[in-house]
């Protein structure tokens, strides 16, 4: 490697830590990673904290407070490259369910002194606040894809992270389609690849953890889910998980919510 290893920082916003742990979970590869890149700021792994600026910042979590919104701008200023990791940082995460509700009403219900709570009305992806160089999908992210992104960064190339469907991974793995063969609802046809079709491999439908694929056609899938017997309110729910706030899933759940309301 070159004399100066690029520096890496890992940042956390509103999230569960699962995506950062994926980096620590790279047991076999962690030494090679540490050889290639200097892990300079990673509170989850080490109390030693180097000063910025950083060559590569991995950002986990969504923006939910005014303080977060300020902090991410500072991090952006101090980072040459900024990559978001996971559904929270890329789409707002499961906590973006608040975007469909009245957050003020929540704080009044939950806290004795709601006036002490400074929170935003929405849970936002990082890209809603600062420019992002690459968004790595998943809840949680996939270890192999994370290593690919780091590798691509080290060598200054584009990450090879396909935007095709989970179905493609499902078929490559030789799984039997749960939707066609069992009638089990599956979000695979509209969901971004990356997990290796984990759930269909366990006879379950895809939950959409990696968010929408490139050119998703959610209305066509929803029509088929109805044909399989799903009720409209159930369809609203399948799109309202970790990527509820991604454009495609949000529009699709809202469309079905509106229609449910109309039906009374």
């Amino acid at each position: 490697m070159s004399a100066r290893r690029p520096t890496l920082a890992v940042w956390k916003f509103a999230s569960c830590d699962g995506c950062q742990l994926t980096l620590l979970g790279c047991e076999d590869e962690l030494l090679a990673v540490a050889d290639a890149i200097q892990i300079a700021y990673f509170p989850e792994a080490s109390s030693a904290m180097a000063e910025g600026p950083w060559d590569l910042s991995l950002v986990e979590g969504s923006i939910t407070t005014p303080h977060d919104a300020e902090r991410i701008r500072e991090i952006r200023r101090a980072s040459r490259h900024l990559v978001t990791i996971g559904a929270c940082a890329t789409a707002g995460g499961i906590q973006a369910l608040r975007n469909f509700a009245d957050v003020e009403a929540f704080t009044r219900q939950v806290y004795a002194r709601p006036d002490w709570i400074k929170t935003l009305a929405t849970s936002d992806p990082i890209a809603a606040h600062v420019p992002v160089d690459f968004e790595l999908r998943g809840c949680p992210i996939d270890k192999a894809q994370l290593l690919e992104v780091i590798n691509a960064f080290v060598y200054g190339r584009r990450p090879q992270v396909p935007q095709s469907s989970v179905c493609e991974e499902c078929k490559r793995a030789g799984h039997v389609c749960v939707m066609v063969a069992h009638g089990t609802p599956c979000l695979g046809p509209v969901t971004h690849a990356g997990c290796g079709a984990l759930c269909p491999g366990c006879h379950r439908g895809c939950y959409g953890c990696f968010g929408p694929k490139e050119t998703p056609n959610a209305p066509a899938l929803s029509a088929w889910l109805e044909h399989l017997g799903m009720k409209r309110e159930e369809i609203v729910r399948v799109y309202r998980t970790f990527n509820a706030n991604s454009d495609t899933f949000r529009e699709e759940s809202l469309r079905h919510e509106r229609d449910t309301d109309h039906q009374g």
Binding site: A36, K171, C177, V180, H182, N217, W224
Partner: protein, 368 residues
């Protein structure tokens, strides 16, 4: 006409294994008939049938012990000859700055395929043209294809999405097999009519000690061959090639795109689709890089990525690419149709889009 007992399949699988073949064939898993290693009669899906409709597949229990009472499942032999992921070459950086290369995969095993349907024989023939019949021969495909022993099974009960008769690829195999079987079940009769297509096939058949068919068996077999073509679930319009060639601006592409998920399932289950993407996979130290080939599809945006970006940006453009390549431009490219009428793309399309209905719609004769 010679027959063997269904139990002779056990001997057949054992003999092929003893001869050094890795024997693969139909077996039941996850509610479907898939292709995997088979070690004896017990691994075959005796007594199971399959129901096919657009976007729907279900197994059902037959009232007989037919070994080949299903049609085709989601897998095809493509997964062995053109695997979904393979390392083509591995490149090592030498200390002096040069490179060394080695083959990505160890030599493939010699395989025997049991239960190859006539449409699947045709599909293997199509992929042979693609991978071996061009100016540059695909070495990895050739190495896997070379020693394959093919035991075909003619179709007695074509499925709901089958249309091989209209593609002239079945339901009875004419050539391209080492041995072909026809399962005949009638009253108390249950035999496999066996034909040899090669010397190797004849030699194996001899070792199974076949006997001459009696009159009843002969008549029953002839009935199977006569009636199977009448039992096709579907038909492809005869002039598909021309219909598509003159429909490039047809409004139906847009209509179908509203239903199509661009999920790529149709291309991946298709036994002739050959598109792949190449990835260079370097290690973090920058010492070794692998060139990996994985199945790709014209339904993916990246598939048409060129300088300046993706040029098939809409689902309509991608659906049109798939249909026109399969049924029209494939003829120009390889001298055959790219479709053998197996029906997989219809059954395994998660929203049941039907290639025969699409062509009929373009022709103006469908119920579009």
């Amino acid at each position: 006409m010679r027959v063997i007992a269904p139990q002779a399949m056990d001997t057949l699988i054992r003999l092929l294994s003893e001869d050094g073949y890795e024997v693969v064939g139909p077996t039941r898993r996850e509610g479907a008939i898939v292709y995997d290693r088979v070690h004896g009669l017990d691994d075959l899906p005796a007594g199971w049938g399959d129901d096919h409709a657009p976007g729907r597949y279900r197994l059902w229990q037959r009232d007989d012990q037919a070994l080949f009472g299903y049609v085709v499942g989601p897998h095809s032999w493509k997964k062995y000859l053109f695997p979904p992921r393979e390392t083509l070459v591995r490149v090592h950086r030498r200390d002096d700055g040069g490179f060394e290369t080695e083959n990505g995969e160890p030599s493939p095993p010699r395989r025997a395929f049991i239960g190859v349907r006539p449409c699947e024989l045709a599909a293997i023939d199509v992929q042979d043209r693609v991978f071996l019949g061009q100016a540059v021969r695909d070495r990895a495909y050739g190495a896997r294809r070379e020693g394959v022993f093919l035991v075909a099974v003619n179709c007695a009960e074509p499925g709901g999405t089958c249309f091989c008769a209209s593609m002239d690829t079945g339901p009875r195999a004419k050539s391209g097999f080492d041995m072909a079987l026809t399962e005949v079940i009638e009253g108390g009769m249950h035999v496999l009519v066996a034909e040899a297509g090669t010397e190797a096939g004849e030699a194996l058949l001899q070792r199974l000690e076949p006997r001459e068919a009696d009159d009843a068996e002969r008549r029953a077999a002839e009935r199977v061959w006569r009636e199977a073509p009448q039992r096709m679930g579907r038909a492809m319009p005869t002039n598909a090639r021309d219909v598509i060639a003159r429909s490039l601006e047809h409004p139906r592409w847009e209509e179908t795109a509203r239903r199509c998920l661009s999920c790529a399932n149709c291309t991946l289950v298709c036994p002739t689709c050959f598109c792949a993407q190449m990835e260079e996979v370097p290690d973090l130290e920058g010492r070794v890089s692998e060139r990996v080939r994985t199945w790709d599809s014209c339904f993916n945006g990246e598939h048409s990525y060129m300088v300046g970006g993706t040029h098939r940006t809409t689902v309509a453009a991608r659906y049109r690419q798939w249909l026109s390549h399969k049924l029209s431009t494939w003829h120009d490219q390889f001298g055959t149709s790219g479709c053998v009428g197996c029906g997989r793309c219809i059954t395994w399309c998660p929203v049941g889009i039907d290639i025969t209905e699409e062509v009929a719609g373009l022709a103006g004769g469908g119920d579009s």
